[in-house]
């Protein structure tokens, strides 16, 4: 348990006595960093400046934006770092389950998930070689089984995650205009709160995951492995039934409010519903369906047993809800009802176990943490010392080194274990496209010609974020915008998972602040809202701490008939162009404008490469390595500097037709670098490159591809 002395003192003073076991457990869970965001809340308020660009439901389970067809798309990133490091399969699987419940609690059908993973180096220790396949297996076993397509994501390998891996999960769902639901209860219904019952349905409650939220709010030590019982156990088959029941309840208007039982379990859900709606409740803990018969009231209140939902149901709909749950063989219980008092009475049988004020439980600790505030620094200057990395190697050496590195090698072993096609909505194969695209129109029948598509770009902070957190955050946003534009999509909203070390350390909280400032200033610059997010702190161990790591998700929309279908099947010739802005300004606005214009003629664009997060050259080689066919090509007048450095005002685009009439916009020059041609003899797959300094190099593309495919499996000893 992790309540601090001042916290305990505040609780005792407010209650007028020492908290009992049940109360102690509730405060311990709900006042944990994981649930209460006590260190991060003041900083996150920076994102409010972005909400005016169309954010919806920012206080709810997941935030969203409206699509032009009237539907709302909800999306969010959640971290499951601590449990995954202790028990990789269940830790990762319950991460997927939790985020999906957040989406369908909004009445939205989840259509895409994705994963942002940071591992240590697998050749250094056996535990890491256990964690990598374990996490992938957890994600695939849960996500594939519940039937939501996986859009890939990003994976990073770095020694700084050796003792604290990161598992961040993204999910996105779509809701039609009729299916409105929220954790907020309509005022008219709150007039007679006693008519509103609290229901729980899903898995029976057991002892798994007790204290999970407070575990996730501590740093790691040798003793952490002993916390395995605090990791929850997943059940995707129950998850799928919960999903269908929840969506039916919303569609048929049988529920008033819906809430996932996530961190802090039942008490998290009940106290949040009451605090948000400024009402009280009576809750009979013994009415919760239980897996074992000797659970203590405190255990029932905070167990994080998975696959459970709490619903507020009008008493007239009680039987309809019960019979729907019975049809799907899903345990269901009525725990009590709301009332107009400002307290929650927790009963176990006849006995009143506790009476607590939901406002105090949810926000009472904030008075202890008023000394934290974001810095006032403004503008792009705080990382002014940012130095672009410059490569000195030949392009050939760089390509070979990158393909043979854990950072640059193929992720196919991971992504192929995820079902990318389930649901039938996937447009682009995520293995070789940085933006995953899915049809969002509910009925995607064969001959409908105006379907809405949503695209997701998932990315991780660059390796240099520790030195330059502000620039790194800004670049993350800019790169995502560019990827969405050249895929022919209009960016609509962002989500972010902020993973940091111990916030009580000055350098950590500074980087945290700078990162949020970078994201929010870039989001305001591009007029796109940050709609949701997650914060995971204390990602550190006795040995080291993680670098500032943002798991970033950007979502855009487009129309299917305007979309480059052709990227699923490239033609036999591809054209490579370089766009360069002549001004070196940090915002690179001219280049942005040009890419946006190009995106409007998107059917010809196969790919874009940018130097925002990593050198263009690395991105290009990674793409060549990921293509299923063999290619041969010729590129001339390459400027070594501009494609080996980070943050250059340069972009490459690959098109399926030559761009003949396109006029560059002000301040951008464009030149054709060369062509790539499909070849049927693998041994002919080579790329001849000529640099402006006169050097000519030849890359053996088949060899690079082979190296890239085998690096991960060999170094991590994967089967």
């Amino acid at each position: 348990m992790s309540l601090s002395a001042p916290e305990l003192q505040l609780i005792s003073e407010t209650l007028g006595r020492v908290p009992n076991d049940l109360e102690h457990r509730i405060f311990d869970s709900l006042w944990s960093e994981h649930c209460s965001y006590r260190h991060s809340k003041p900083f996150l308020s920076r994102y409010k400046a972005t909400h005016r660009f169309g954010a919806l439901g920012v206080e709810a389970n997941a935030g969203g934006v409206q699509l032009s067809d009237g539907q709302t798309v909800f999306f969010k990133i959640e971290s499951h770092n601590h449990p995954s490091h202790i028990e990789p399969k269940e830790g990762a699987a319950t991460g997927v389950g939790g985020i999906l419940r957040d989406i369908f609690a909004m009445g939205a059908r989840p259509i895409v998930t994705g994963d942002l993973l940071c591992f240590g180096l697998p050749d250094q220790d056996a535990w890491m070689r256990h964690l990598i396949p374990g996490v992938v297996n957890g994600i695939s076993s849960y996500g594939n089984a519940i039937g939501v397509a996986n859009a890939g994501g990003a994976t990073r390998f770095d020694a700084r995650y050796q003792y604290n891996i990161l598992v961040n999960v993204f999910a996105l769902g779509v809701r039609s205009a009729q299916n409105v639901i929220d954790a907020e209860i309509p005022q008219a219904l709150l007039k007679n709160p006693e008519d509103l019952e609290l229901h729980i349905f899903g898995c029976k409650t057991g002892r798994d995951g007790i204290g999970g939220a407070s575990m996730a709010s501590e740093t790691f030590s040798e003793a952490s492995v002993s916390k395995r019982p605090q990791v929850q156990i997943s059940d995707p088959y129950m998850g799928k039934r919960l999903l269908e029941i929840s969506l039916t309840l919303v569609q048929e208007k049988l529920v008033v409010a819906l809430q996932d039982c996530g961190a802090a379990g039942l008490s998290g859900a009940v106290f949040e519903v009451c605090a948000q709606n400024k009402c009280g409740a009576t809750v009979a803990l013994d009415q919760v369906p239980q897996r074992v018969n000797d659970l203590k009231p405190g255990e029932i209140a905070v167990s994080e047993s998975q696959e459970r939902m709490v619903a507020v149901v009008h008493k007239n709909q009680r039987d309809a809800v019960a019979s729907l749950c019975a049809k799907y063989d899903v345990p269901h219980g009525v725990m009590g009802c709301l009332d107009s008092k400002s307290e929650i009475k927790l009963l176990f049988g006849e006995k009143v176990e506790s009476v607590l004020d939901p406002q105090f439980v949810c926000t009472g600790h904030q008075s202890l943490y008023t000394n934290l505030s974001p810095s006032d620094a403004k503008g792009f200057s705080s990382d002014a010392a940012f130095k672009y990395e410059s490569g000195t190697q030949s392009l050939k050496e760089s390509a070979e080194g990158w393909s043979a590195s854990l950072q640059g090698c193929s992720r196919e072993w991971i992504v192929r274990q995820y079902d990318q096609h389930v649901g039938g909505r996937a447009v682009l194969d995520p293995v070789n496209h940085p933006v995953s695209v899915h049809v969002a129109t509910p009925d995607f029948a064969a001959h409908s010609d105006c379907q809405t598509i949503v695209g997701t770009r998932l990315s991780l902070s660059p390796e240099w974020a520790e030195q330059y957190p502000y620039v790194a955050a800004w670049s993350l946003v800019r790169e995502a915008m560019r990827q969405l534009w050249v895929t022919g999509l209009k960016p609509l909203g962002f989500t972010n998972g902020l993973n940091f070390a111990n916030p009580e350390k000055k350098n950590v909280i500074k980087a945290f602040d700078e990162t949020i400032r970078g994201i929010s200033e870039a989001a305001v610059h591009y007029k796109v809202p940050v709609v949701s997010g997650n914060v995971s702190l204390y990602n550190a161990s006795e040995q080291n701490e993680i670098p500032p790591t943002v798991a970033f998700g950007a979502v855009g929309e487009g129309r299917l008939q305007h979309h480059p279908q052709v990227v699923n099947h490239y033609p036999d010739t591809l054209y490579v162009y370089e766009l360069a802005s002549d001004s070196d300004d940090v915002h690179q606005t001219a280049l942005d404008q040009m890419l946006k214009n190009l995106g409007e003629v998107a059917p010809t664009i196969a790919r874009g490469f940018f130097s925002d997060l990593k050198p263009i050259w690395q991105g290009f080689i990674r793409w060549m390595n990921s293509m299923p066919e063999s290619w041969t090509g010729n590129l001339t007048s390459l400027t070594r500097d501009s494609i080996l450095k980070i943050g250059q005002p340069v972009a490459w685009i690959v098109t399926t037709e030559p761009l003949l009439d396109l006029k560059p916009s002000n301040g951008v020059t464009m030149k054709q670098l060369g062509v790539l041609t499909r070849c049927f003899e693998k041994q002919n797959a080579e790329l001849k490159i000529e640099c402006t300094d006169g050097a000519i190099e030849i890359l053996d593309l088949e060899q690079l591809k082979l190296t890239s495919t085998h690096t991960l499996t060999e170094r991590a000893q994967l089967l």
Partner: protein, 220 residues
Amino acid sequence: MPKLSRSGKAAVIFFPGSNCDQETCAFLNPFYQNVDVIWHRDRFEAKSYDLVVLPGGFSYGDYVRAGVCAARSPAMADVIHFAKNGGPTIGICNGFQILAESGLLPGVLIRSELGRFDCRYVSLKNTSASNLKWQVPEQVILPIANTFGRFYLPDDQDSRLWNEGHVVYTYESQESISGIAALTNREGNVLGMMPHPERAWAPHHAYQFGSRLLPNGSDL
């Protein structure tokens, strides 16, 4: 699948753990006037349907062995009766596993050579099964997504399948996957396949081969 005129009725059996319900219904909707999702525990009037589909997924969490528990669901009694009376029945992925476990098709689906879940496109070769009461295109590329996709039958029985022409598709030679991809029964009305035609038909899918897979007598 059949009948662009949107007539007739198709039944999709939904087991606990089925997960391809969305794309399977979307696939059938343009062709059938009614696509009814039948909960596995409900008995149903199978003879009023023109097609029965067992969708993909992980019914009962693959408990015991993929398809074993689902094959014993109440609704399966009606499916078996329907199929034995010549009704067009198709099982896709987990549906194929259920058909095998219910005895409507021979053999069993075991862990694939790769040993882990595998999602990719595969090329299939039509082996022109005789008796087949389905129209199936010649050369096909379809997605697969499974862990237990390797068809197995003891050698002597396996060669009988080949001799009697019950094999519909085999995998074109690939590194990690080989053997039978789709199979029919002696009468040719029951079709089981591991690849997913319901994920390869719409304009946005990478391939559209699935839309050419039809029960005989369908008027396109």
